[in-house]
Amino acid sequence: MGVRISVKVNERSHTAEVEPRLLLVHYLRDVLGLTGTHIGCETSLCGACTVLLDGKAVKSCTVLAVQADGADITTIEGLARDGKLHPVQEGFWEEHGLQCGYCTPGMILAGAALLAENPGPSETEIRRAIAGNLCRCTGYQHIVNAIQSAARKLKKSGGRKV
C-alpha cells in the first residue's frame, strides 16, 4: 500500500514510504517537520502552501507526495543560504511585507520564483505573479514593495539563483 519516494528538500535527500493519497504539504509538514509551509484552503486558491518544485512555484496541497518522487523541493526553511536571508525575505522584512505571517512563506516563494524568471518585473507583473497567493492582512501594497526592493537588490548584486 505504501509507495517509496525519494525527494530532495532544501538540499537534503529523504526517502520514505508514503500512502499514495498523502499530500505533499502533509509530507513536508508532518513527516519532515518542515512546518513553515502552511495550509489555508483545500481548493488550490490561497497559495499558503506554495513551495518550489524543481524551481517552479507550486501549491503543495495540490500535489501528491508520490508525484514529487525524484523532485528537488525548496521550502521557506531552505531559502536562506549560509545564514543569509534571500533578498525577497529581506524585502519582506524591510518593507513590512507581512503582518500575521501566515501567507508569508508562500508569498515569499512566489516572489522568489518570479524574480528568478523575470528579474525586473513591473508592478502589474508582480501583482499577477502573486495573484495565486491570498493575503488578508496587508492589502498587498507592502508585499509588492518588498518584491520590488528585492528586485533592486538582486540587480545590484548581479543576481542569485533560487
Partner: protein, 765 residues
C-alpha cells in the same frame, strides 16, 4: 524600525497551532450537519468506531451535562439566549453545526471515519431571511421561544419627531450590509493536552483572547481556572473571528482530558466558511431630516440584524456599536434608533473587523451623499457644514458617547488636496460628456475604538502590562493584549526602549500565554496599543521612578535631579555625573545598597482602565471608473488621510490602513455570504467567495493628520479597523457618483458587475 516578529516568520520558523505536535497526539475531525434545521433522531457511530485508527467517537449525548454551553457575554435587556452546545443535542439550527467528533491516531483516518457515521435527521423548515423570520407565520429557529426576535434595543435623544416636523426635506434610504465571511488565512485550530501529575490542562488555540478563553474553558469543563493554561501561539489573522469562545475549544480540551492523550483539531477552509463567525448582515432603514441649507437635524433608523442561529460571544452586541456611532462625524442633534436582533438558520454573526462601525459609517456616509444629491450640493460641502468644530471637543453625541478629540475639517481638506478634488470634478464632467463613468467618492469617518472603558463593555475594558528589567539589563514586557499580526512585539519594544534609553533589541514582548502573562483582555477593537500599550507605558513609568530613586541614592543626589539618558541615568545639568543603566539595574537586584524602604527587583505591573474610548477619524477619497459595457469597477485612485492620534511606528500604521481598506474593498465589490432559502451556504469555498487578490487592488496613497487623544498618556487612538470602517462607503459613493448621470442614487453591495451593468443597460447607456 523593522519588526521584531519578522525574522522567524519570513523563515518559516514561527509556530502556529498546527505546527505544534506532542508525543501520542490524536487528531479530531468533526461531522457537521448538512441541514439548516432538523431534529436529531439517531446517530449510529458503530462503523466509525470500528474503523482503523479510531480511538473515540463522541456525540452530543456524551457531553450532555458534562460540558457547559458556549458563552455569550453581551448583555441586552430581555435578550433571548438559546442553549448552545459544543455538539448538537436534540436539534440542529444551521448547516455546519457540529454533530459528532471522531478522534483517531492520524488526521487522514479521522477524516475517513467521519464519513462512516450515520445520522438520522428529521428535517424541519428553515428560515434564512431576517424579515421573513419576524413574520408570525415563520418557522421558529428555537421552539422554546415564541418568535424569532432575539432582542430589541432603542436609543432616542434630542426630540427626533419634532426635528422631522421642522425639516425642509426628508431623505430616506434602505441600506443592506451584506453577510461577510472573515477568512483569516489561518483557519481555527486547537491542540489540548492534559498532564495528570500537575493536573494541568494546556490548550493552544488560534485565538485573540487567551485569558478570556481560559476562564470560559474552565467554566465549560468545570475545571479550576488555575489548572488551565491557554496559549495563543502565532495566530494567522483574526479580524474578530478569533475574538470568541468556540465549542471546539472546549470540546478538544475535554477530549484530551477524557482520553488522556493530546488531541489536535484543525479547521478546514470549508468548516471555516460554515462554522466560524460571520460578519455584518444588517438591514438599515434610515431617514434624515434636513434643512434646505444642508444642516441635518435628525436621523431615524430601524436596524434589523440577522444574528444567525445562536449567540457567539458578542453576537447581539455588535449592532449596538452601529447605534452608538450612527451619527458619524456630524453634529446631528436628534436621533431615534430601534435595533431588532433576529434568529435565522444560519451561522452566528459577530465581530468582524470594524464590528458594527463599518455598518454605521456606511449608512451615515451614504446618507450624507444622498442629502448632497437631494440638495444639489457638493458632498464635501455638506460634510463640512455638519462637522463639529475643533472647539466642540470633547463632543457628546446624542447616542451617548463622547468623541475625545478631533479636527474633521483638517483631514478632509488634506484628503481633497491630495486627491486634487477640484480637478477631478472637472475631469468627471468632461468624461461624462463622452459617455464615460468616472466617479469620486468621499468618506469622512469617525470610529470608536480602544475598547474600554469597562463601564461600556460587556466585561473588562482594561488591559494589563508588566515590565521586568532583568538583572542583566535586558527587558521583558508581558502584555495582556494578544497581537496576531499587528506588530506590538515591535511597537511596544520601541516605546519601552525609548523610555528606558536602551536599544529595542534589548526588549522582548511576551504575549498570549496565560501562565506567563498576568490576566489580560486581548486584542480586538483596535485596543492593543491604546489600552495595552498604555498599561505597559504606565508600568515602565513606575520602573523609571524606581531607577531614578536608586540612581539618586547611589549618586548621593535628590532623585528629582535624575533623568534618563542613553544607557544611563544622569544628574540634570551635570552630564558627567551618572550611573550606567546596567549599574543601577544590578544594584536593584544585588540589593546591598538600596535606599530605605526600597523593594528589591525591577518589575512593575499596571492594569490600565481607560476613562473613555478613543475616536480616530479621517477622510478617504476614492476615484473609480465604471466600464460602461461590463459594469466592472476600476479603482483609479485611493487616497486615505487618517488621524489615529500619535503614531509610534508609521510603517505599521500604513500596513493596518492598507489591509483595512482592502478588506473594505472586498465588501464593497465582491464579498457576500449567500445562503439559499433552505439554509445551504452557496458561497462555501474560496472558489465561490471572492476575497481581494493582489491584482484587484489599487496602490493606496496614505497621509495623516495628528490629533492626540487626551484619554491616554501616549495620545494614541488605534488604527486596526479604520481602513475597513472608512473605505466601504468611499468606494460605493464613488461608484454611485460615477453613475449619477443615469439618475442612480443607490446600489446595493456588493457592487457586482452585473448589478452595475443592469443599471447601465436599463438607462440605455
Amino acid at each position: 524600525m523593522k519588526r521584531k516578529e519578522d525574522p522567524r516568520l519570513i523563515q518559516g520558523l514561527g509556530h502556529y497551532v498546527d505546527d505544534l505536535s506532542l508525543p501520542g497526539q490524536l487528531y479530531a475531525a468533526i461531522l457537521r450537519s448538512p441541514h439548516a434545521h432538523a431534529r436529531l433522531r439517531k446517530i449510529d457511530r458503530s462503523a466509525a468506531e470500528r474503523a482503523a485508527g479510531v480511538v473515540a467517537v463522541i456525540t452530543g449525548e456524551d457531553i450532555r451535562g458534562v460540558l457547559g454551553t458556549i458563552p455569550v457575554a453581551a448583555a441586552l435587556p430581555e435578550l433571548k439566549v438559546p442553549p448552545h452546545y459544543p455538539l448538537a443535542i436534540d436539534n440542529i439550527c444551521y448547516v455546519g453545526e457540529p454533530v459528532a467528533v471522531v478522534v483517531a491516531d492520524d488526521r487522514y483516518r479521522a477524516r475517513d471515519a467521519v464519513d462512516l457515521i450515520e445520522v438520522d435527521y428529521e428535517p424541519l423548515p428553515a428560515v434564512t431571511d431576517p424579515e421573513k423570520a419576524l413574520e408570525k407565520s415563520s418557522p421558529r429557529v428555537h421552539e422554546q421561544f415564541k418568535d424569532n426576535q432575539a432582542c430589541l434595543w432603542k436609543i432616542e435623544a434630542g426630540f427626533p419627531d419634532r426635528a422631522f416636523k421642522k425639516a425642509d426635506r426628508i431623505v430616506r434610504q434602505r441600506f443592506l450590509n451584506q453577510r461577510l465571511i472573515p477568512v483569516a488565512m489561518e483557519p481555527r485550530g486547537v491542540l489540548a493536552s492534559y498532564d495528570p501529575g500537575p493536573e494541568l490542562l494546556t490548550v493552544w488555540s488560534s485565538t485573540q483572547i487567551p485569558h478570556l478563553l481560559r476562564t470560559q474553558i474552565a467554566a465549560m469543563l468545570n475545571v479550576p481556572e488555575m489548572r488551565v493554561r491557554v496559549i495563543a501561539p502565532e495566530v494567522g489573522g483574526g479580524f474578530g473571528s478569533k475574538l470568541n469562545v468556540y465549542g471546539e475549544e472546549a470540546l478538544v480540551a475535554h477530549l484530551a482530558m477524557k482520553l488522556g492523550r493530546p488531541v489536535k483539531w484543525m479547521e478546514t477552509r470549508r468548516e471555516n466558511f460554515l462554522a466560524t463567525i460571520h460578519g455584518r448582515d444588517q438591514i438599515d432603514d434610515v431617514e434624515v431630516a434636513v434643512k434646505q441649507d444642508g444642516r441635518i437635524l435628525a436621523l431615524k433608523c430601524r436596524l434589523t440584524a440577522d444574528l444567525g442561529a445562536y449567540h457567539q460571544l458578542l453576537t447581539p452586541a455588535i449592532p449596538t456599536l452601529t447605534g452608538l456611532l450612527m451619527l458619524g462625524c456630524y453634529k446631528i442633534p436628534a436621533v431615534k434608533i430601534e435595533y431588532v436582533g433576529v434568529f435565522t438558520n444560519k451561522m452566528a454573526t459577530d465581530a468582524y473587523r470594524g464590528a458594527g462601525r463599518p455598518e454605521a459609517t456606511y449608512l451615515i456616509e451614504r446618507m450624507v451623499d444622498l442629502v448632497a444629491l437631494e440638495l444639489g450640493k457638493d458632498p464635501a460641502e455638506i460634510r463640512r457644514q455638519n462637522f463639529p468644530k475643533p472647539k466642540d471637543f470633547p463632543y457628546s453625541t446624542p447616542t451617548g458617547v463622547i468623541y475625545d478629540s478631533g479636527n474633521y475639517e483638517a483631514t478632509l481638506k488634506k484628503a481633497l488636496e491630495l486627491a486634487g478634488y477640484k480637478k477631478l470634478r472637472e475631469e468627471q464632467k468632461k468624461l461624462w460628456k463622452q459617455g464615460r463613468y468616472l466617479g469620486i467618492g468621499l468618506s469622512t469617518y469617525v470610529e470608536i475604538c480602544a475598547m474600554g472603558p469597562s463601564s461600556a463593555m460587556p466585561a473588562g475594558g482594561w488591559e494589563s502590562g508588566t515590565v521586568r528589567i532583568e538583572p542583566t539589563g535586558k527587558v521583558t514586557v508581558l502584555t495582556g493584549a494578544s497581537p496576531h499580526g499587528q506588530g506590538q512585539e515591535t511597537s511596544f519594544a520601541q516605546v519601552v526602549a525609548d523610555e528606558l534609553g536602551i536599544s529595542p533589541d534589548s526588549v522582548i514582548v511576551i504575549h498570549g500565554d496565560t501562565q506567563a502573562v498576568p490576566y489580560g483582555i486581548g486584542t480586538f477593537g483596535s485596543r492593543a496599543t491604546a489600552v495595552g500599550g498604555t498599561a505597559m507605558f504606565l508600568a515602565v513609568q513606575k520602573l523609571k521612578d524606581k531607577l531614578k530613586r536608586l540612581a539618586g541614592h547611589l549618586l548621593g543626589v535628590d532623585p528629582k535631579r535624575i533623568e534618563m539618558g542613553e544607557g544611563k541615568l544622569v544628574v540634570k545639568g551635570k552630564p558627567k555625573k551618572s550611573k550606567s543603566f546596567l549599574e543601577v539595574v544590578q544594584a536593584a537586584y544585588v540589593a546591598k545598597t538600596l535606599p530605605p524602604n526600597f523593594e528589591p527587583g525591577l518589575e512593575a505591573t499596571t492594569f490600565f482602565e481607560p476613562s473613555n474610548f478613543t475616536f480616530p477619524f479621517g477622510a478617504h477619497v476614492c476615484v473609480v471608473e465604471v466600464d460602461a459595457e461590463t459594469g466592472d469597477v476600476h479603482i483609479l485612485r485611493y487616497v486615505a488621510v487618517d488621524d489615529c492620534g500619535n503614531v509610534i511606528n508609521p510603517l505599521l500604521v500604513d500596513g493596518q490602513v492598507h489591509g483595512g481598506i482592502v478588506q473594505a474593498l472586498g465588501q464593497a465589490l465582491f464579498e457576500e455570504a449567500v445562503y439559499d432559502e433552505n439554509g445551504q451556504l452557496l458561497t462555501g469555498e474560496l472558489m465561490d467567495y471572492a476575497i481581494p487578490r493582489a491584482w484587484d487592488v489599487p496602490r493606496i496613497e496614505t497621509a495623516r493628520t495628528v490629533t492626540p487623544s487626551p484619554v491616554n498618556p501616549m495620545g494614541v487612538k488605534g488604527v486596526g479597523e479604520a481602513g475597513t470602517i472608512a473605505a466601504t462607503p468611499a468606494i460605493v459613493n464613488a461608484v454611485v457618483d460615477a453613475l449619477r448621470p443615469l439618475g442612480v442614487r443607490d446600489i446595493q453591495m456588493p457592487l457586482k458587475r452585473e448589478r452595475l451593468w443592469a443599471l447601465l443597460e436599463a438607462r440605455g447607456s
